[in-house]
């Protein structure tokens, strides 16, 4: 059971979190000028990398503060290398993504 560092609550057990998928994806902008089956949207919805090693992923502290966060995890060892609020860099030194700052 992982110990996930919530940027707001500190290290908490994995059972308090929901997994939310690949955090490196960027949703294509809303637009009224797309076509059905727009390749950018198809990629965003369906295509995922399965990296061996570093993976940035979203988790929600669902049974805690309810906030979403970005977690950097090594898929080989499950080692968690850092976390940050959404849009932040989980690999930056602690403090630089301090939500209170």
């Amino acid at each position: 059971m992982l110990l996930i560092p919530c940027p707001w609550c500190g290290p908490r057990a994995q059972t308090e979190f929901h997994y939310g998928g690949d955090a490196s994806l960027r949703r294509p902008a809303l637009s009224t000028a797309r076509t059905p089956a727009d390749p950018a949207l198809v990629d965003y919805v369906y295509l995922r990398d399965n990296p061996k090693g570093l993976h940035q992923e979203h988790w929600q502290h669902a049974a805690g503060c309810g906030q979403w966060l970005v977690v950097a995890r090594d898929t080989r060892s499950h080692a968690i290398l850092g976390s940050a609020p959404p849009g932040g860099d989980p690999l930056s030194p602690p403090g630089t993504d301090d939500p209170a700052a």
Partner: protein, 1002 residues
């Protein structure tokens, strides 16, 4: 007083002042406090303690610890019976009841043993697969085979015992309370670190309790052990957990411990849990888990009376029980010589020490000569002789080939005990639970732990260090290094005490040479009846990987997971393939280390606590009214309210008629409610819903539909504009939590630039639907501050008011299709307001209606719900395509436009009525042209929701039909081959009742 012929009159660590009386297979067995079931049976001279899994061969206790493959008993009676318990770990206790397993009618006279024994030679590796895959097939044979070859049966009734979970946190967890573990705990305790020390046995000490030749500070080692345990007990920062097994090692330094809180007590007090699962997050970890002695392989090595040499010493020194009166020692390593010395000094005859290695170590052979014990160096055991207990061994001189030849180099030696040892394999199981493979150490001749993080250290025999002084010094160093690895760099003041003991060289070949070819069965895995022959056969048939070998032969499976089988079995495979053990490798150790009861994993989350129940604040009224409840996710919702014992159909039809002609109340608290506020609230709704929100005036509600990113419909509900920048969204009961999570995701991850806050208020509000032509009349009696006339408060209006004096929100929305309102009040007032509404409606015959009536009315209206919002339907499939705005982008818009989703041939929502006007349409049926066509009959679409309409007086249904809107008035068949039912149906509009929607707008 029963006979205990093998109990010594003095000695041991048992409490002779506390005799205990147990019942084993209906017969009394006596022992003392401090005994195990295995030691008490041995003291009584009972050596036949089990029957093997496959061949039903007689088996006796092999070991004195958790590795025991043979002596498995069912402990306890009735609902408390626990099968497959290792007798070597069962603490003797007054009143304990044990039954042997896998034998009928009794252990000594096992009919299945007689039946399978002659066939035994056919049951080689892969036998079951090869033989039973043909003919009637595995599905027929498997239950029969399982019945013949089985472990103990589980009790059938619910488990009456309680089980606990708890979480622990510490700086250092020490697993194993032997010499090395005690040294590690003492060292760390002195630094002020929070320490947990666990040991699977009742008493700390490990081998210090089991050996007779170890001294610490000039006294027997077990004395020092007691003092060390007392010292740790007094230390504030140390928690000592006896009877506690570390069974698994998990991510981020989590270790699973199983604490046997009350298992040693046949009648535990009711407040005490039987087992406690502890999940320990630790900073550092020292594994002082010891080593597991491995048997020597020769024909008949499974006969009762054959025991591990170290176990013989344990029974002698800890329990004062002689393994036998006349022993033969089979020494595949120097350590086994200690057993010869110990037995001789305790007064037993040692008929021979047989050392197949040929060149004895003078340091350990010397004491044999002093005691006139004959040493047969370079001899092999050819076979054991005896029935249900060993009577003699036959030995032969020379290397493997010579040893099986007849000739002068053969000798038969009478004995009632064969003590064997091929060396000790470090218990490194926990180190590989996270995927780190063990490493072959050629110097030690065994597998040792692979690379570990600095905060995990091994000590003592687990680290391949067998001498007492090394264990104590190693425990101290392991504690220091592990704490340092966890960032606690401290000087350790504790110094190991002086020790004395035999200078046994731990470097031994793990497996002794074997006589080949073999006559008779030489067992590698006792629990699964895997022989040397099976392993050779598997290798010849191409099962060369250790993982394939395991699955083909069952080597290393079962309750013991091959603790006394894997090292030798895999070495044999390597020998067969001409590979060294490093190249052969070892199968993966996975949690749990030893069996963990399912009850312990479940803890308190059993029965009513298996999952939480959510009750609406009005629940007490429903219960008092005798409502039959149903599950909606975690919620308990009234299904129907029976009167005078009427059934579901009668009650729900009565409720529907009451709503359609009068007025009814329904508890709709369970719908998800999300409060949305901020300047961009409408923009968020525009992005999430397919329809537009900017033009919705304050004080009005609107029905909204949400798609998934892939364009399929996800959820629906009404959203109300409460203020300029304030909306209240409702979701379906089922999707309340995921929709809230999705809104959080949208606001925090997708579009953080939106100025909007979303908050779940599902539990803050109780919601009551008041539906029926008399609903306005009812509300007029209790509502203050709102004009309820249609002119002032039309369909889809919303406002604030007081209901029965309570501040409330009132919504004029309708799911039933009648004039209807929804009253929302703070949860704490829900019950009071419900009662006030019921009282206000008494004059009009107001009823409470449940989910069934709600469902019937929505089918009559053609409203879609869960069976239609099934994750496979588009908005247009549901008849909601006209809601999709073309003026904005929203989640799912573009992918919903893909060719397959816009194909005009897709099944569309339709209504169905039976052609004969009376036959119910089966739910789950498929619409087909010709039910008599040869299968597979093409399906034109599924039937999703069915009911008998009390309003229309005949059955109706909703379903999806290919080009359904073009087939109005057509006739098809609802075909249900699963239940053998076919109903001729007519295709009609899904809006059966008041299709113009006039009744809800009055």
């Amino acid at each position: 007083m029963t006979d205990t012929p093998l109990r010594l009159p003095t000695g041991g660590l048992i409490d002779r002042s506390a005799p205990v009386r147990m019942t084993v297979d209906g017969l009394p067995v006596e022992g003392f406090a401090g005994d195990t079931l295995a030691s008490a049976l041995l003291a009584a001279g009972i050596k036949l303690t089990g029957r093997s899994f496959k061949y039903h061969r007689p088996r006796g206790t092999l070991s004195a610890g958790p590795e025991e493959p043979n002596s498995l008993f069912t402990i306890g009676t009735g609902d408390r019976a626990t099968p497959n318990v290792r007798a070597t770990l069962v603490e003797a206790a007054d009143g304990l009841v044990a039954e042997s397993q896998n034998a009928w009618p009794s252990l000594a006279l096992d009919v299945q043993g007689l039946l399978t024994a002659p066939a035994g030679r056919f049951l080689s590796a892969g036998f079951y697969y090869k033989t039973f895959m043909g003919g009637p097939g595995w599905r027929v044979w498997e239950p029969l085979i399982r019945r013949a070859a089985g472990l103990g049966p589980p009790p059938q009734a619910p488990d009456p015992d309680a089980y606990d979970h708890r979480y622990d946190h510490c700086d250092l967890l020490v697993v194993g309370g032997g010499a090395a573990g005690l040294a590690a705990a003492l060292s760390a305790a002195e630094t002020g670190a929070r320490v947990i020390l666990c040991d699977e046995r009742a008493q700390l000490g490990g081998r210090l309790l089991a050996e007779g030749d170890l001294a610490i500070d000039g006294r027997p080692a077990h004395r020092w052990t007691a003092e060390a345990a007392a010292l740790l007990d007094r230390a504030d920062t140390v928690t000592v957990l006896p009877r506690t097994t570390a069974f698994g090692f998990y991510d981020d330094r989590l270790v699973g411990l199983l604490e046997r809180v009350a298992d040693h007590d046949p009648a535990p007090p009711p407040h005490r849990p039987r087992l406690r699962l502890r999940l320990v997050r630790t900073g550092a970890l020292v594994l002082a888990t010891g080593a597991i002695e491995q048997p020597v392989v020769f024909p008949g090595n499974d006969r009762p009376g054959v025991m591990l040499a170290g176990a013989v010493r344990t029974y002698l020194h800890q329990y004062a029980v002689l393994g036998g009166r006349r022993a033969v020692i089979v020494a595949g390593c120097d350590d086994a010589y200690r057993t010869a010395v110990s037995l001789a000094d305790a007064g037993a005859a040692v008929a021979a020490v047989v050392d197949p290695r040929g060149r004895p170590n003078p340091a350990v052979a010397g004491p044999l000569a002093d005691r006139d014990i004959p040493l047969f160096a370079g001899w092999q055991v050819r076979r054991t002789i005896g029935g249900q207990a060993v009577r003699a061994v036959e030995i032969g001189r020379g290397d493997a080939a010579e040893a099986v030849d007849d000739g002068p180099g053969r000798r038969r030696i009478a004995c009632d005990l064969v003590a064997l040892s091929a060396g000790w394999a470090p218990a490194i199981h926990l180190t590989s639970h996270l995927g780190v493979k063990p490493r072959w150490d050629a110097g030690l001749g065994t597998f040792v732990a692979g690379d570990q993080p600095p905060w995990l250290q091994l000590a003592g025999t687990a680290a391949g260090r067998c001498r007492l002084a090394d264990a104590l010094a190693g425990g101290r160093e392991a504690a220091r290094l592990a704490l340092e690895g966890a960032g606690r760099d401290m000087a350790i003041g504790w110094l190991p005490p002086r020790t004395a003991g035999p200078a046994v060289d731990p470097r031994q070949p793990l497996v002794s040479p074997l006589p080949v070819p073999l006559r008779g069965k030489a067992f590698v895995d006792f629990q699964n009846d895997v022989t040397v022959g099976d392993i050779g056969q598997a290798a010849r048939e191409g099962y060369e990987s250790v993982e394939h070998l395991k699955r083909y032969t069952t080597l290393g499976m079962g309750t013991d997971q091959g603790k006394t089988a894997n090292p030798i079995g895999l070495t044999l495979l390597g020998a067969q393939l001409g590979k060294d053990p490093a190249a052969t490798g070892i199968t993966t150790f996975r949690p749990p280390y030893t069996p963990v009861e399912v009850g312990a994993l479940a803890g308190r989350t059993a029965g009513a606590h298996f999952r939480p129940e959510r009750w609406s604040p009005i629940h007490p009224w429903h219960a008092a009214a005798g409502a039959v409840m149903t599950d909606a996710g975690l919620w308990k919702r009234p299904w129907y309210y029976p009167h005078d014992g009427d059934d579901l159909a009668a009650a729900s039809h009565r409720e529907v008629r009451a709503v359609r002609t009068g007025v009814g109340l329904c508890d709709v608290t369970t719908l998800g409610k999300i409060d949305i506020q901020g300047p961009d609230a409408a923009e968020l709704l525009n992005r999430l819903y397919i329809n537009g929100w900017s033009a919705l005036p304050v004080g009005r509600a609107r029905y909204g539909v949400m798609l998934r990113e892939d364009g399929l419909v996800w959820d629906d509900g009404t959203t109300t504009r409460l203020g300029d920048q304030h909306y209240l969204m409702t979701t379906t009961t089922a999707h309340a939590v995921p929709v809230m999570s999705w809104l959080d995701y949208a606001c925090q991850v997708l579009w953080p630039e939106l100025q909007v806050h979303v908050t779940s208020v599902t539990e803050s509000w109780a919601a009551i639907a008041v539906a029926g032509p008399k609903s306005r009349r009812l509300l007029a009696r209790v509502v203050d501050g709102l004009d309820l006339s249609t002119r002032a408060f039309p369909f889809m209006a919303a406002g604030v008011c007081r209901v029965a004096g309570v501040p409330a929100r009132l919504f004029r929305i309708s799911f039933s299709g009648e004039l209807a309102y929804e009253v929302a009040v703070p949860s704490t007032e829900g019950l009071r307001v419900w009662e006030a509404l019921m009282a206000a409606g008494a004059a009009d015959g107001a009823v409470a209606y449940g989910l069934e009536a709600l469902a019937i009315m929505r089918i009559e209206k053609g409203h879609v719900a869960g069976p239609e919002l099934n994750g496979r339907t588009t908005a247009d499939d549901l008849g909601l395509g006209r809601l999709m705005s073309g003026k904005k982008d929203f989640v799912g818009r573009w992918l919903a436009g893909r060719a397959a989703f816009t194909d005009p041939g897709r099944p569309k929502l339709v209504g169905l009525t039976p052609v004969d006007g009376r036959t119910p349409i089966p739910a789950g049926a498929h619409l087909v042209d010709d039910p008599r066509a040869p299968p597979p009959i093409p399906s034109l679409g599924p039937v999703t929701s069915v009911c008998t309409s009390p309003t229309l007086g005949h059955p109706i249904a909703l379903g999806f039909l290919e080009r359904g809107r073009d087939r109005m008035g057509h006739r098809l068949h609802a075909h249900d081959p699963l239940r053998g039912r076919t109903v001729a149906v007519e295709i009609v509009s899904p809006h059966f009742y008041d299709p113009a929607g006039e009744r809800m707008r009055v």
